[in-house]
């Protein structure tokens, strides 16, 4: 029976410690032991019974998914990206406006670079919309 305990410990070693983990380990071990005893009763050697129980246990991955072991969900950064792009483009545009009116007030040219820069927040806006 010690082999079962080792097997269960090994199964759960990747799962972070928690009360839930302790509870489910206990449950798994309890049920496996019962299965082994059942198999022995049906006439199997203890060694065989333990091996059979272990083989039939299956893939722990299913169980891991139910725990918090899922890959951490990527935090949605698109909103921050949008805000950054708006502030950034505003700064750049105001710089152009300043240079325009300070050095060459007779020609209004700042709209051209403004138009180019506006693509940045526009792109970020669509990314944000799409991520919703």
């Amino acid at each position: 029976m010690k082999k079962l305990k080792i097997y269960v410990d090994e199964l759960f070693k990747d799962i972070p410690e928690s009360d839930q983990k302790i509870a489910i380990k206990e449950e798994v071990l309890e049920n496996l032991e019962e299965k082994v005893l059942d198999l022995i009763e049906q006439g199997k050697e203890e060694e065989d019974a333990i091996n059979k129980a272990i083989v039939e246990f299956g893939d722990i991955e299913d169980l891991k998914n139910e725990f918090g072991v899922k890959k951490p969900v990527n935090k949605n950064m698109t909103k921050i990206n949008l805000a950054y792009s708006i502030w950034g483009s505003l700064l750049i545009i105001s710089l152009f406006i300043f240079i325009n009116f300070y050095y060459s007030p007779s020609v209004i040219w700042f709209v051209y670079p403004t138009f180019v820069v506006l693509w940045w927040p526009l792109t970020m806006y669509f990314k944000w919309q799409r991520s919703k």
Binding site: E34, K35, E56, G58, D59
Partner: protein
Amino acid sequence: MIRSDIIRGHLDSIILRLILEKDRYGYEISKEISLRTDNRFQIKEATLYAVFQRLEKKELIESYLGGVSQGGKRKYYKITMLGKAYLNEIVTEWKELKEIIDLFLEG
């Protein structure tokens, strides 16, 4: 032997149904499944515990510690009101699905 991916989506309902009949614990459920299907389908324990976790999280079943075996205390599962309602819905849905699939695959 039934392929496990094909039955996967129905495991929740099969297990809920078994727990509806009476409160049961893990090994009892896996044994019951093998018995009733005459070993044509055997549930892997790892899958079984995953289903328990999922159902418990959705509050469709509850667990409590009960009868003592040689090893330790067994953890029993009990269906909740919500679980019963959910199962009812699943059964209706299944009947409909079966009829539709039968239309194409039977005969």
